[in-house]
Amino acid sequence: MVGIVVFPGANCDHDAYHAVAHVLGASARFVWHKETSLSGATHVILPGGFSYGDYLRCGALARFSPVMGEVRRFADAGGPVLGICNGFQILCEAGLLPGVLGRNEGLRFVCADTFVRVESADSAATRGLSPGTVLRLPIAHAEGRYQRGPGGLDGDGATGRTLLRYCDEAGETTRAANPNGAEGNVAGVANRAGNVVGLMPHPERASEAVLGNVDGRRILEAFLRC
């Protein structure tokens, strides 16, 4: 069962639920941020949105919600955790993923389709996807500029690894294809063990043909297979 954590201000919680439960047929349950148990969830999703209004710094206040203690224990025990957009920001603030997400270089909110290239199949959300695969995935954020920070994500995977990079349709990680100024065009990362994943793009928005895109299913399916 997938536990979808509902922080105050989360707004993609229903979308994650819809994609997981209605589109992919997995069982799912909302977990209210004041709960102190994950009630037997086998997978955890921290959905997108504006937890606590994104006030102070995005993800900074949500990190202290009561449920986060359980999420940390679950992650430490190797359970698969997927943070999407705001969920990614929360995982970074909580120190479960290396780095930090800063204000977009262009300073504006950006809602658009991007292309991303799979860099590593070694994570709970990319297992089974071959490196080099190009996916079209939507983004919607004002603070998605990934920064490793000193002591953050390194090249050899000791602190974590890069999963996705923004690229053009042909898979080239050009500057023009970088929507927010992220260092190294990084769009998604995993922790060292690969069970905790953060993505700025929204796979749940790209899971149904009627919405014009099904590339995100591959990520969600990989995650559910874990």
Partner: protein, 82 residues
């Protein structure tokens, strides 16, 4: 020379960020926090040696760009000026 600018919300103007921070600090057990107001802090590096001229110029920047007079007020700090 470096000038420092402190931009704060005018009294009475709602500060959603400050409120949220206060709530979180309370939840973290900082029980003595009564109020939090969140503002901006700018460090401006200027090619200017005259402190009074620097201050005048920075105040002008505040009025024209840095501060939204509808909801904010500001204070400028330039070493060597009152």
């Amino acid at each position: 020379m470096q000038a420092r600018v402190y931009v704060t919300l005018k009294p009475g103007v709602l500060d959603p960020q400050g409120n949220a921070v206060r709530g979180s600090l309370e939840a973290l057990g900082f029980s003595k926090v009564q109020d939090v107001r969140l503002g901006k802090y700018l460090e401006i590096e200027l090619a200017e040696t005259d402190p009074m001229a620097a201050r005048a110029s920075v105040e002008e920047m505040c009025r024209r760009l840095l501060v939204n007079p509808v909801v904010e007020s500001f204070r400028v700090d330039v070493p060597g000026t009152p």
